[in-house]
């Protein structure tokens, strides 16, 4: 790299940094404002000339948010649904991912393209037939119905992502183990599985987040008494208006655990997603 370019860069570094800070402030503002509103007294939230910096800290919005409608019931239901979906998705998805990444067989290409194509069907387009299907099966307003439904998007996602992780593990490792006397199964369990574990964890967490965040099916397929966590957030708007400060407190309670989970896995996931999609 020529010296001219380097010194030119150093000179403009300050400009880039300022621009970068602007991006940081803009991108982070909605999150900041959610937290800011959640912790400020409800009457400060409806100040027509709001102060951008935190004034005083209160937790009253959180207790109001917990009061407004049952919070732990929806959270429990969301947990049950998301965890079940992820467990089924990972077990079933793992087998399928192994099949398409480690075996050569006729029809493999069709399966791969099928699993990719299936992810393109917008969930919204499916809501009508899914609603009718669950209605016929007597699974409307049941957690099992919701679990079955969530598999439509979690399963293809899991298969495809796990495949991305498996493809990145060199086949030679398994072969070496098999040369050394392992069976195909033990080679998988002792060599591939440990290498795959981080990817599996990341996929599970990401799948969990997706299931947890799902809104449309949860709204359509569950009644008011059986609502899940995302739908719970709708309780702050009534005919008397919206209670914004408690609503932001509720949003904070919903978002923080998810964002933290997300932080833990996002690096791994970004790698897995691109590997799966770009690497042939």
């Amino acid at each position: 790299m020529s010296t001219a370019a380097v010194s030119g860069r150093r000179g403009s570094r300050l400009g880039w940094n300022l621009l970068g800070l602007l991006v940081f402030v803009t991108a982070g503002f909605p999150v900041y404002w959610m937290l800011n509103t959640a912790f400020k007294p409800a009457k400060d939230a409806i100040d027509p000339d709001p102060s951008l910096l935190p004034t005083s800290v209160t937790f009253s919005n959180f207790s109001r948010a917990l009061d407004i409608a049952d919070f732990w019931g929806p959270v429990g239901r969301s947990l049950v649904v998301s965890l079940t979906v992820v467990v089924i998705g990972i077990v079933v998805g793992m087998l399928a991912a192994l099949a398409i990444s480690r075996f050569a067989f006729r029809g493999r290409k069709v399966v791969i393209v099928g699993i990719l194509a299936v992810q393109m069907v917008p969930l919204v387009a499916m809501i009508i037939p899914v609603f009718l299907l669950l209605n016929d099966l007597g699974q409307y307003d049941r957690l099992t119905g919701l679990i079955i439904t969530y598999l439509t998007f979690i399963l293809p996602f899991t298969v495809w992502t796990l495949r991305g992780f498996i493809v990145n593990i060199p086949r030679e490792l398994e072969e070496a183990a098999m040369v050394d006397g392992c069976s195909r199964t033990t080679a998988f369990l002792r060599v591939v599985f440990p290498l795959l574990a981080p990817g599996m964890v990341a996929t599970s967490v990401y799948g969990f987040i997706q299931a947890w965040n799902e809104y449309l099916y949860a709204l359509m397929l569950m009644s008011q008494q059986n609502q899940t966590a995302t739908v719970w957030l709708g309780n702050f708007t009534t005919k008397h208006g919206t209670e914004y400060a408690p609503m932001m407190a509720g949003s904070t309670m919903m978002a923080v655990p998810i964002v933290v989970l997300f932080l833990l896995v996002q690096r791994k996931m970004a790698a897995g997603l691109t590997a799966g999609a770009v690497k042939g």
Partner: protein, 330 residues
């Protein structure tokens, strides 16, 4: 479907299929086995395919058949059998002027979302290469936080930001000299409201694009850019003729995913408008939902959903070709 399958991998019979690499003879042997097909991979695939057939295949087929039937409230309750009506639903939908308005609105909205997401994402990814480490960390934190926000929470927060009386956005705008936006209702008109929703969608979609592109940018050889610069290329020239061609596969993938996601925008509009989007806010997704669950014409709703899928397929045909290529390479 769970307990039995958990144990399946341990039961997989040993070798049979030998990786094609090592000695030539083994490679040929596996070649013949390949053409014969194998029971093992299909056994591994079976649970997955079975579930998908039930939860995805059946509803997809039902979506198609439904759109050729008459299916309203009385058919839902089973008072009347669903009769086939041929292309009636499609004729009704396609003959409706409102449908075409909605199609145009959806395409414009999705296009705006995709273009802004990709351009802003690319700019931020390029910026990240030029800032100091600590600024990069700050930006990454903000991006991951907005990426991880549940859509429903993000929508709620934006509703608050753009509230007409107490929203911070109006308050900040009014700080500008000569501007008084207090009380301005962003959702009084469709275009303004959809602009806010576009902002919301872009805000949530940019992080994925930035992080993926950043990973891609590290793959661009510094020597190539340097060589182009020595040959007299400006910043734009280097980007256009060196960086972009290398990033092309990632850009194509990201654009396609964005198209799929942005054509499927639903909760953002639905929640922003309190569960009843006005006519001016209808996109194909909400329109189909509206027809089915508000007007109770499930058949017409299905027809609209099906047309949406077809439209989407047309748009992403390019990507489909690339997928086929992926299938071939492997």
């Amino acid at each position: 479907m769970s307990a039995a399958d958990t144990t399946t991998p341990t039961k997989v019979p040993p070798p049979r299929q030998v990786p094609p690499a090592p000695p030539a003879a083994a490679g040929r042997a596996s070649g013949t086995k390949r053409s014969g097909g194998g029971a093992v991979p299909w056994a591994l695939l079976a649970p997955c395919l079975l579930i998908l057939a039930v939860v995805l295949g059946y509803p997809l087929v039902r979506l198609v058949t439904l759109s050729f039937q008459k299916f309203g409230q009385s058919q839902l309750w089973g008072f009347q059998p669903a009769e086939s009506v041929g292309f009636d639903n499609f004729a009704k939908v396609l003959g409706d002027g409102e449908f075409w308005t909605v199609v145009v609105r959806t395409v414009v909205f999705a296009a705006a979302c995709v273009v802004f997401t990709m351009v802003i994402g690319m700019l931020i990814a390029l910026l990240l290469q030029r800032v100091s480490g600590w600024v990069k960390t700050l930006i990454n934190i903000a991006l991951v936080a907005s990426w991880g926000m549940p859509i429903i929470v993000a929508t709620t927060v934006f509703k608050w930001l753009f509230d007409s009386d107490y929203g911070i956005f109006n308050a900040l705008l009014s700080k500008l000299p000569g501007v008084d936006m207090i009380g301005h209702n962003w959702f009084a008109s469709g275009p303004e409201g959809l602009a806010v929703i576009t902002l919301l969608v872009v805000w949530g979609a940019v992080p994925f694009v930035v992080i993926t592109l950043s990973a891609g940018l590290t793959q661009v050889p510094k020597e190539l850019e340097e060589a182009a610069r020595l040959d007299g290329a400006g910043a734009w020239g280097v980007f256009r003729y060196v960086t972009l061609p290398i990033l092309k596969p990632i850009v194509v993938m990201l654009t396609t995913l964005s198209v799929i996601w942005d054509m499927g925008v639903f909760p953002q509009v639905f929640v922003m408008r309190g569960g009843h989007p006005e006519a001016e806010f209808q996109l194909l997704t909400t329109y189909s939902y509206d027809r089915a669950f508000v007007v109770n014409d499930y058949a017409q709703g299905s027809a609209i959903a099906l047309l949406t899928v077809l439209l989407l397929l047309g748009v992403i045909g390019v990507y489909m070709r690339q997928m086929l290529k992926i299938g071939e390479v492997e």
